[in-house]
């Protein structure tokens, strides 16, 4: 990711928009006992397109904003989302994946990591009450719902971040297409 003031502004506005949407609308949409959760998806998208450094910074910022805006224990969300952002970013840097449907497993994995790790942190810090087994079903449903939502969220994030990206996975995918083997003789073997 090219670190310019414009890039910081774009990422900041993207995170703020996701937070407001999550708190005031998306988080209140319940389906089959679970809820959509934009926060890990947006952090994963920033990490996927921007790399591990942008991912960990975006994760920390998003977590900080959630804790401040929702009145939760400060530091808990930022710790978990930092790890999620860094992990997704490193995966992207090491494997350089370019499949068009990759946001689905990445979104699901990021959400699963977020709900599991946040549960663990909450348990360790200040949850002293009985925990219902239903919470596991809620976590699974949230992961599935987020997997459905990941393609449009990643596409929207890519659109916002594109001017600041050094490498766009969609361009990588286009470059990897096999060369033409049919058509006019002069074009065979060429990427046209």
């Amino acid at each position: 990711m090219i670190l310019t003031p414009s890039a910081f502004l774009r990422v900041g506005l993207l995170l703020l928009l996701a937070l407001v949407l999550q708190l005031s609308a998306v988080g209140q949409i319940g389906l089959l006992g679970g809820h959509f959760d934009l926060t890990p998806l947006v952090v994963a998208a920033v990490a996927y397109y921007g790399g591990s450094m942008a991912g960990s910074a975006a994760g920390f910022t998003m977590g900080f904003m959630i804790d401040v805006a929702a009145g939760q224990t400060m530091g808990s969300s930022s710790l978990v989302l930092t790890a999620v952002g860094y992990a997704v970013g490193r995966y992207r840097e090491l494997r350089d994946p370019a499949h068009g449907l990759l946001p689905v497993p990445i979104g699901a994995a990021a959400t699963a990591a977020w709900v599991t790790a946040f549960a663990a942190v909450s348990f360790m810090l200040d949850i002293g009450a009985t925990v219902s087994p239903v919470v596991i079903r809620q976590m699974v449903v949230t992961v599935l719902l987020n997997a459905l939502l990941s393609l449009p969220v990643f596409a929207a994030c890519r659109r916002v971040l594109r001017p600041s990206l050094m490498v766009d996975p969609a361009d990588v995918r286009r470059r990897r297409r096999p060369p033409r083997e049919t058509g006019p003789l002069g074009l065979r073997g060429l990427e046209v």
Binding site: V20, Q28, L32, D37, G71, S76, L79, A83, T130, V135
Partner: protein, 296 residues
């Protein structure tokens, strides 16, 4: 393969973010409710409130659409249960009418005065829910009424049907309601009409189930009875909740021979998963003993 500078920067970014998170956690637990981080939270909530209110109203049709889909799935089961409950309530209504007539005559005899409205002597302020905690571990909502409307910390909050929680943080124009389903919640309660006392606590992650704990083992608890706030008052402490606010209905009783107490499961009257409006009781309800000496 990788530039060493890039690797160093990447690791430094991760280390800084993790260190900052741990420092925030430590500082947050170490400071009092009036500390810098708590003040920052209140300020940020105040600043975000207008945006959240606007976004919440604009996106309400979308929420309703998904809510409708979920409701349809549960509607058949709910309909069957409600029909059975209607039959039972018809019988109870007849009994209640008789008891009410008797009670009116008895009240006249002993000179008790009963205020209109519920709970007695309280001043409800209606507020709209503008934001909700994004995780199941912290069950709280933010409402669009705050200190300027007379809302204060620890005031009880009702949703349609019964008790929803209490105010835990207040800014000028907003307030945070910690719901009964939050891990930190505990309410002294009484089973009616048996009178057994206990503490209502959440079962984290399951908003349809509350636990009434510390109910004496010998007390008989019947399925379907109502649980209300006990509103106890002693010389040293007083319950935050006025007496008589309905909380839920008994659904199950766990009898464990090893335990000293029995554990009662309740289904809350208020649907804590979908709250759009709440009422904050901005004045203290008068305890029962205060009204006992009044004459008509």
């Amino acid at each position: 393969m990788f530039d060493k500078g890039v690797v160093r920067r990447r690791r430094a970014a991760l280390a800084i973010c993790v260190a900052l998170s741990v420092a925030l956690l430590t500082a947050y637990f170490g400071e009092s409710g009036g500390g810098v981080l708590h003040t920052l939270q209140r300020g940020a909530q105040e600043a975000l409130a207008p945006i959240e209110t606007g976004a919440g109203r604009a996106l309400k049709p979308l929420r309703d659409l998904f809510g409708w889909a979920g409701d349809t799935i549960e509607a058949k089961k709910e309909n069957k249960r409600l029909k059975g409950e209607l039959e039972r309530l018809r019988g109870e209504l007849a009994q209640a009418e008789t008891a009410r007539r008797d009670a009116r005559q008895l009240r006249g005899l002993v000179g008790l005065q009963r205020d209109d409205g519920f709970p007695r002597g309280t001043q409800p302020v209606t507020a709209r829910v503008i934001a909700r905690s994004p995780t199941v571990w912290y069950s709280s909502v933010k409402v669009d009424k705050g200190a300027s409307d007379g809302v204060k910390v620890d005031q009880p909050v009702l949703a349609s049907g019964g008790l929803a929680g209490k105010i835990t943080r207040v800014t000028g124009g907003t307030a945070e309601v910690t719901l009964l389903t939050d891990a930190s919640s505990a309410v002294s309660a009484q089973i009616m009409p048996q009178g057994a006392n206990g503490i209502v606590k959440p079962e984290v992650g399951n908003p349809r189930d509350l636990l009434l704990d510390f109910v004496e083992k010998g007390r008989r608890v019947t399925h379907g009875t109502t649980v209300v706030t006990s509103g106890f008052t002693s010389s040293r402490v007083e319950s935050l909740f006025p007496r008589g606010i309905p909380i839920g209905r008994v659904t199950q009783v766990d009898l464990d021979e090893v335990e000293l107490y029995q554990r009662v499961h309740l289904k809350p009257f208020a649907d804590l998963r979908r709250i759009d409006f709440v009422q904050v009781l901005t004045a203290r309800g008068r305890p029962a003993s205060a009204t006992a000496g009044l004459t008509p």
